[in-house]
């Protein structure tokens, strides 16, 4: 499967936030969308899954224009896990997770099938949130909430998984566990996974492919080797060191801010 983004343009109040963004990604690859604050990473993920209006350009899945998809088909194909969720109305984690199965159900189906619950159960066990199911969404810690948000996206069983800062609030153990899991899922289930974040080190550890964004433009696309010391220092305005680990991967270590 191939996701192709062509000349995507997004504007907020007639200023361009994404400017002619073009790239292609394949299934089985864990792609990182990298860039400093305000570069347009979140906007890109939302534009791909049609959560924000696109001014120009288009998105193709295996050559089929996304505009030919019905909202329900989009719901089956894409899942976006952002950092935000309204928690003012009371609701439990379990109730929140249940909504993810809706695109797979009949519109008027009133109860979940056994299959729906099984899918939910698998993901819940994988992310170790079984103990949180009956908790109120509003009572969760940031890290617990983050795992619940990722779980919700996975329960939707998408073919294209869009994760916005999935590791921001996770402690080091969960950070490694969750990213390992996402990497394995992507490879084993042949998903197209885009992870947006601004963590240079994490990106260098996990990315199969990198899309580097700056001020709404694509600066570099390719394997992790496109993140050269010069480019990274120019875009992020920090001094970095690039080291090789024992597996031959380049690791990026931030040293200090440049001015």
């Amino acid at each position: 499967m191939r996701l192709a983004v062509k000349n995507l343009v997004v504007e907020y109040n007639s200023t361009k936030v994404l400017d002619e963004v073009t790239f292609e990604v394949l299934d089985g690859e864990l792609t990182f969308v990298l860039g400093p604050n305000g570069a347009g990473k979140t906007t890109l993920l939302k534009a791909i899954s049609r959560l924000v209006n696109v001014v120009g350009g288009s998105v193709y899945i295996d050559g089929k224009d996304l505009r030919n998809y019905s909202p329900r088909e989009v719901g089956k194909a894409f899942a976006y896990a952002g950092p935000q969720v309204y928690r003012v109305l009371p609701s439990t984690v379990f109730e929140f997770l249940l909504i993810s199965r809706y695109p797979h159900q009949n519109r008027l189906q009133y109860v979940e099938s056994l299959d729906d619950i099984k899918v939910l159960d698998e993901v819940v066990n994988e992310l170790n949130i079984g103990g949180l199911l009956s908790r109120k969404l509003e009572d969760l810690s940031s890290g617990e909430l983050q795992r619940v948000l990722i779980a919700r996206a996975l329960i939707q069983k998408p073919t294209i998984l869009l994760l916005d800062e999935p590791a921001a609030f996770l402690d080091i153990k969960y950070r490694i566990e969750v990213l390992d899991m996402i990497k394995n899922l992507t490879k084993n289930r042949r998903l197209i996974t885009l992870v947006a974040n601004h963590d240079l080190h994490l990106t260098s550890l996990y990315a199969d492919r990198v899309i580097l964004l700056d001020s709404g433009r694509v600066v570099a696309v390719g394997g992790p080797e496109v993140l050269t010391k010069e480019l990274v220092e120019k875009i992020f305005k920090v001094r970095v060191e690039v080291l090789k680990n024992c597996y031959g991967r380049n690791l990026i270590l931030p040293i200090r801010a440049l001015d």
């Binding site: 939302k46 899954s49 049609r50 959560l51 019905s70 909202p71 329900r72 989009v74 719901g75 089956k76 894409f78 899942a79 976006y80 952002g82 935000q84 969720v85 309204y86 003012v88 109305l89 009371p90 609701s91 439990t92 379990f94 109730e95 929140f96 249940l98 909504i99 993810s100 809706y102 695109p103 519109r107 008027l108 009133y110 109860v111 979940e112 056994l114 619950i117 939910l120 159960d121 819940v124 066990n125 079984g130 199911l133 009956s134 509003e138 939707q156």
Partner: protein, 340 residues
């Protein structure tokens, strides 16, 4: 693990519905038996089943059946409307009258009465005006909020419409009173004393249509409450959800205002009682809240008549009783929020 949680949820729903249905049935029978002339439980049941045909009792029972039906239907409508409005505003403190429905209904009715005092003899026409007023208020609110572009804009627009039209309605009602000499507290605070047999079919029809329609959008509401993003990516249109739910709310509330007047707090308290009983999934919350709303209004109507038969004075408006039951509830909710 998840399966167990799901079963628990279902069990809680089934048990609650059973408990609520039983309570409502018993309360309805009680409501028919309580009053200045009290009728025994057995007589009520016999009459309802058509076994006995005591003519004196029959007259009394028939009147009280009408009152009780009106309470049940108005209560159920308000319970459902409350859940809908809390959902689309994503605000647990919202209640149906927030859409600017009630005071516009009153304004239109009073205006009609001032222009044509003989209208008071035709309840059907008063009801019609009230309902039209409610819909008019809702349309104002909707337009002010730029066609329901968000739940919050809807609330703000509703508050604006309410504050304008409630001032107007008070002045108009005052004028009506001097023309017609009817106590306007009944219109303001709700009462079932003036409900006629002819009102019941209209009330039944709108309640059934409104409540069934609301059951069609439960899933889109479940997705919507977490944010527009969730709604969209699960294949729903958040704008359409807001519009549908707000329209159903205004029809249900408008009709209940037209028939029994304004009964506060039911639309607020009933959803919360049900959140406690069956959780927050709208598939379960809506039917449960219909029952709890009905129970609250029937109970208030019983209390009103009990007080009147003991004191020998006229009946208190329903809104006073629901207010006394509901106010501590609101205080509790607000305090809980503040503490968090």
């Amino acid at each position: 693990m998840a399966l167990q949680t799901y079963r628990n949820l279902m069990r809680r729903f089934t048990l609650s519905m059973f408990f609520l249905t039983t309570s409502l049935t018993l309360l309805s029978i009680l409501s028919i038996s309580v009053g200045v002339v009290s009728v025994g439980f057995k007589d009520v049941v016999d009459h309802l089943l058509g076994i006995s045909s005591h003519t004196f009792l029959k007259g009394i029972i028939d009147l009280r059946v009408i009152r009780t039906s009106a309470s049940v239907l108005a209560g159920a409508s308000l319970g459902v409307a409350g859940v809908l409005i809390q959902g689309i505003t994503r605000n647990p403190l919202a209640e149906p009258y927030i859409l600017g429905i009630s005071s516009t209904a009153l304004s239109v009715v009073s205006l009609a009465l001032i222009l044509n005092p003989s209208l008071i003899n035709s309840r059907t026409e008063v009801m019609l005006y009230s309902f039209l007023g409610a819909l008019l208020g809702f349309l104002f609110t909707l337009m002010l909020s730029r066609l329901g572009s968000s739940g919050l804009s809807l609330v703000l627009a509703g508050i604006a419409v309410t504050s304008i039209s409630s001032g107007i309605s008070h002045i108009l009602l005052y004028l009506v009173q001097s023309v017609l000499r009817i106590p306007y507290v009944y219109l303001l605070m709700g009462s079932t004393t003036s409900v006629l047999k002819a009102d019941i079919p209209t009330l039944t029809l709108t309640s059934i249509i409104g409540i069934s329609a609301s059951l069609l959008i439960v899933k889109s509401l479940n997705a919507y409450i977490y944010g527009d993003e969730y709604s969209r990516q699960l294949g729903f249109n958040p704008r359409l959800t807001i519009l549908t739910a707000a329209t159903i709310t205004s029809i249900l509330t408008g009709m209940s205002v037209a028939v029994v007047g304004i009964i506060g707090f039911v639309g607020l308290a009933s959803p919360h009682i049900c959140r406690y009983l069956v959780g927050n999934d709208h598939r379960f919350l809506l039917p449960a809240s219909a029952l709890v709303g009905a129970i609250l209004v029937v109970l208030s109507d019983i209390i009103v008549r009990a007080i009147s038969s003991v004191s020998g004075l006229g009946e208190l408006p329903l809104g006073v009783v629901t207010g006394i039951i509901g106010a501590p509830f609101l205080a509790y909710l607000v305090l809980k929020r503040v503490r968090e």
